[in-house]
């Protein structure tokens, strides 16, 4: 049972990290990064390291996510009419 | 002891059920607004049941109240977030998918 839990956690971590890196859609990358931070906090908790889990939850999932989303908004505003031109026609796999 | 443990297990299972409902709703509901319903209501009830079930096992009253505090924080966070997203969706002109049968009457009243 614990092996299954840890395996699933590791797989989800790898999956979200890959999804965050391997996309040209910035919104998707940021959201997957937030998800990765949350999963990382769970992983630290699973490794019996609650202090690092707290730091990861606060910095990785909370503040960095909000800052990246804010940056995304600023980027979209500056580009004006075509907010996501480099993303191409929706980077769906 | 036995009764408290049984109730605790029941609440935990109930919490998992509501979490499942929230996830299925997120996958199944048709648009952003309906998905927000699933996210706020079902998930918060799921967390409430889990927190209550764990609070029954807590060593001290303060530890149990801490779980309740976490639940209240998540409640506040998710209703504020849901409202902010719903409001923004409406400002951006995302039109909700309305029920075909009742949409006309309501639309007429809303435009007035």
């Amino acid at each position: 049972m614990p092996e299954l839990l840890d395996g699933l956690l590791a797989a989800a971590l790898l999956g979200s990290a890959w999804a965050s890196l391997a996309t040209r859609d910035l919104t998707r990358a940021v959201v997957m990064f937030i998800v990765f931070g949350l999963l990382m906090a769970l992983a630290w908790a699973r490794l019996q390291a609650p202090d690092i889990a707290i730091a990861e939850a606060a910095i990785g999932a909370g503040l960095t996510g909000a800052l990246l989303l804010d940056a995304l908004g600023a980027l979209g505003l500056r580009r004006g009419a075509a907010p996501r031109d480099e993303g191409g026609p929706r980077g769906e796999p | 002891m036995g009764a408290a443990e049984g109730l605790s297990a029941l609440l935990l299972l109930l919490g998992a059920f509501f979490y499942l409902a929230g996830t299925v709703g997120l996958l199944r509901f048709p648009d952003v607004y309906a998905r927000l319903h699933a996210l706020t209501k079902a998930d918060n009830l799921g967390l409430g049941c889990v927190a209550a079930g764990l609070a029954l096992q807590a060593d001290s009253l303060a530890a149990a109240l801490k779980l309740v505090l976490i639940w209240l924080l998540v409640l506040a966070a998710s209703t504020v977030t849901a409202q902010a997203i719903a409001r923004r969706a409406q400002e951006l002109g995302v039109s909700p998918r309305l029920d075909a049968g009742s949409a006309h009457a309501v639309d007429g009243r809303d435009d007035a």
């Binding site: 989800a12 959201v31 908790a45 804010d70 | 966070a77 951006l92």
Partner: protein, 95 residues
């Protein structure tokens, strides 16, 4: 009792893995963000359960859940107020 909690944590994590699919392909930016918010609220539940798994329960993990709950609102509100704009093309495709 610890067996039940571990099993439920696994179940919730499986829930999250399913929601990960939604986050990865959910068509609009808001759909992705909703999946991230689901990760937040379910993550709090998983952390609470993980804190009670094991023969000596590891209570400091509850504090991690508390911090996560405190900061969950910031990301969602930042998305709604700052990041989500000019989604017209997406929503036309959806509905």
């Amino acid at each position: 009792m610890t067996g039940l909690e571990g099993a439920l944590a696994l179940f919730l994590l499986a829930n999250l893995a399913v929601a990960l699919v939604r986050a990865a392909r959910g068509p609009t930016a808001a759909d992705r963000m909703l999946a991230a918010l689901l990760f937040g609220s379910t993550g709090v539940g998983v952390l609470l359960l993980l804190a009670h798994v094991g023969t000596p329960p590891h209570m400091p993990i509850v504090d991690a859940a508390l911090v996560l709950a405190l900061l969950a609102a910031i990301t969602g509100v930042a998305f709604a107020l700052r990041a989500w704009s000019a989604e017209g093309e997406d929503d036309g495709g959806r509905s």
